[in-house]
Symmetry: C2
Subunit: 456 residues, 2 copies
């Protein structure tokens, strides 16, 4: 068999990169759990009809069939999930009798989309979602809490600062109605293309495709240009002279989100009235997130309020949630070498082996160190000590242990192979520096340089 | 939309069950990392030709296609991986220039098989694999180490005791050759059916299908009946009067594994000469593992030595590895209710809300507690305190916090809702008991009852 080549869109990591990913996922998990979110995982597959019910991504779904399905066996009708929100809505309906509401859940899993791979877009990628759903009604304060939780999760990571851009679907829809749009959803879809095709083309499409008057199209473009890090956006909107009850409701909600978040974490959110989010299940607040210095990557964390994604006829389960695009963030920062791990293995100590007869003594040392929480492996062979030290060095293992001969009264010793310092030591009480116990993750950004410790 | 129903073979967990699974996966990860194994993940898909190269499971592979593949677009030729060994072998070949050998890796991921679901067999399930691969040759002591690592990982879990059954493919193949088998692999495949069809049917098939003489078939059955927890199996084999160089080599290897493991962890392994393992890539030591009191479940952890699974023409990468069937273990123990979590949420403290005007004060208390590592959420609404306490109680949250009014000189207090005891407290220094900080996992087996603590 010849050497295999990578599959485009299905990135894999080397061990040192995976250590960074584990650090990031552990950190996100810890923030979510500290905030009282329970973990769930859903199966990778959903019935196709469920996958195609929401969102405009039918071209991107991977469908499954059994390789040797029996003659006449129907296609299973299953596809791989393309996000974690649709499966979560299904999970809530299926298990509603066993869940306590409001239900706070996080979910960190891979998702699959058959789209054209490019930077920041993969066919297989990891998302970290956090949602709160309730039965029938969901208090509005969760729209504020979700932004704060995501801000806490992202600011705990060794990544550049982030800014969450918020908008409100009611605000946009009310405004479009107020300028006379017959189909506000069509206007939203056109405005959503601002980043791709620019304001001139959007203005023309609003007239040609969404049926607006030229003046109404200009008003919609002006709305999309409004942004502020405080509640002043509301006056700017009112200054456009459009009125509609739904617009008022959306303005009020967006003011509450911007003020509520700013009171606790100033600078985290900014009202940005061009934010639309393509998925059609959002009904109120919508969030996107830009990473400082990496705005070209697009949103690294997006979500919103959905009032009717899950309904079983007897009850409706409104929710609000945000998803962190873990693969998008790491693809960029690992790719540019700004996030690195201090070593490629969890190992802190390599126990040298003088000869194969003494491997048992080396094993005993390793077991004693592991029993005290120090990751340890034993050298693969009784090569010359210089070769064993190089074995450790190539992996970034900081310490090499030499077992003495108890019969000869010779003590053990441990060498820090970075400094060359070697000291007598006992496996019963020796401890490495805290920073050496597990691999650390180093962030070398242009804006700041931090060292973060990796827990196990 | 009506209430969805579960998909057979794709089990999902409720939040409290997922807490148990997270505890188990965290524990396995910690053991593997303490032993110096680095984590990798491989993509979920492999080229079909790669998947079908090894193993007899072609009927079980799920093939992918894009739902709306372009006209004339070829099938992607991708399938979901059915184990983690075949993808790992491909990963080693693809990245051999970037890996340090011997390469110690663990891998905890889902795998998919389109087989008929039954207890212990799923269409989607989680495996935890640990392997060591080297370039060209792999020292034999790793066959001993792998059994010890898996023993350490499994005995750290809140599950019944396990026994690893070991055998050796060389021993079996050499013996079959020694009795005159023209096709030792065919004999192995028949012997592998012992558990399913019994010794009489196997004896007949050895004659009819594998071409053995009746005497040779009887010798093979007697070989399969040999078992011992020490090296005495070797004398029993020699007593059958069959000789072959490969048999001698296999006997020597199996003695080394049994003696080597027993010296460190007596009772963990037993030589059992009926163990065959269906997958055809094993070439030496093979492992299966039974859980005490759940022998009917079959092996919960299996693997072996493979000398030529990965080869790129210039180099061969021999390895030895074992896979823990996490879903098989948890499906049984969660299904029988012998493994439970102390609560269904990570939350330790619910902060009560007296009225919506004071929600900000409750949020500040929650932030202070979280900052000190205590998982905290704030009550969803300013309902009567009795209702807020029931909200905590239904989730198993042990503490409810009441924020005092600083303006009135009123201190905060915290209530243990299990005992009803309420004491004055400050969010700056209050600490719960260690056992209450995170959910704990309780094991209620008939053999022992242990409480294990859940880290985050």
């Amino acid at each position: 068999m010849s050497r295999p080549t990578p599959l485009s869109g299905f990135p894999e990591m080397l061990p040192a990169q995976r250590i960074v990913e584990q650090y990031v996922l552990d950190s996100i998990r810890r923030t979510f759990e500290l905030n009282g979110f329970a973990s769930i995982e859903t199966r990778a597959v959903e019935p196709l009809e469920q996958l195609l019910r929401k969102g405009e991504i039918d071209k991107e779904v991977y469908v499954l069939r059994r390789l040797q399905a029996a003659e006449g066996e129907a296609d299973a009708g299953l596809g791989l999930h393309f996000d974690l929100t649709v499966p979560f809505a299904r999970y809530v309906l299926e298990n509603s009798g066993h869940l306590e509401f409001p239900f706070r859940r996080y979910q960190i899993q891979k998702v699959w989309r058959g789209e054209r791979p490019q930077e920041g877009r993969y066919r297989e990628f990891t998302q970290a979602d956090v949602d709160i759903v309730d039965r029938d009604t969901l208090p509005f304060h969760y729209d504020i809490e979700l932004a704060l939780v995501i801000g806490e999760a992202l600011s705990a990571l060794p990544i550049p600062p982030v800014r969450i851009q918020v908008n409100n679907r009611k605000l946009a829809e009310g405004f479009y109605r107020g300028v006379g749009a017959a189909d506000p959803a069509a206007v939203l879809r056109v405005v959503d293309k601002l980043d791709k095709i620019g304001p001139d083309a959007v203005g023309q499409a609003l007239v040609a495709d969404a049926g607006l008057s030229p003046a109404a199209a200009q008003a919609c473009l002006r709305l999309a240009g409004i942004t502020s890090s405080d509640a002043s956006f509301a006056d700017q909107v009112l200054g456009l002279g459009v009125s509609d009850p739904l617009l008022d409701e959306g303005l009020d909600e967006l003011v509450r989100v911007v003020d509520g978040v700013a009171a606790i974490r100033p600078g985290l959110v900014v009202a940005d009235l061009r934010i639309a989010r393509g998925l059609d299940y959002y009904t109120g607040t919508v969030y996107e997130t830009l990473m400082s210095g990496h705005e070209d990557l697009g949103s690294i964390s997006s979500g919103g309020r959905y009032d009717s994604l899950a309904s079983d006829g007897r009850a409706t389960y409104p929710g609000v949630g945000i998803s962190i695009g873990v693969s998008r963030i790491l693809g960029r920062l690992l790719g540019r070498g700004t996030l690195t791990a201090s070593r490629s293995v969890p190992t802190c100590v390599l126990v040298a082996v003088a000869d194969e007869e003494s491997r048992g003594r080396a094993n005993a040392v390793a077991a004693a160190l592991r029993g005290r929480g120090i990751a340890t492996e034993v050298a693969p062979s009784a090569a010359k000590f210089g070769k064993q030290i190089r074995h450790a060095d190539r992996r970034g293992i900081p310490f090499v242990w030499f077992a003495g001969d108890p019969a000869a009264g010779e003590p053990d010793s441990v060498k820090d192979i970075r400094s060359g310092e070697q000291v007598a030591a006992s496996a019963e009480n020796w401890l490495p520096a805290d920073a050496d116990l597990w691999p650390t993750v180093n962030s070398l950004s242009t804006e700041d340089s931090t060292e973060e410790e990796q827990g196990s």
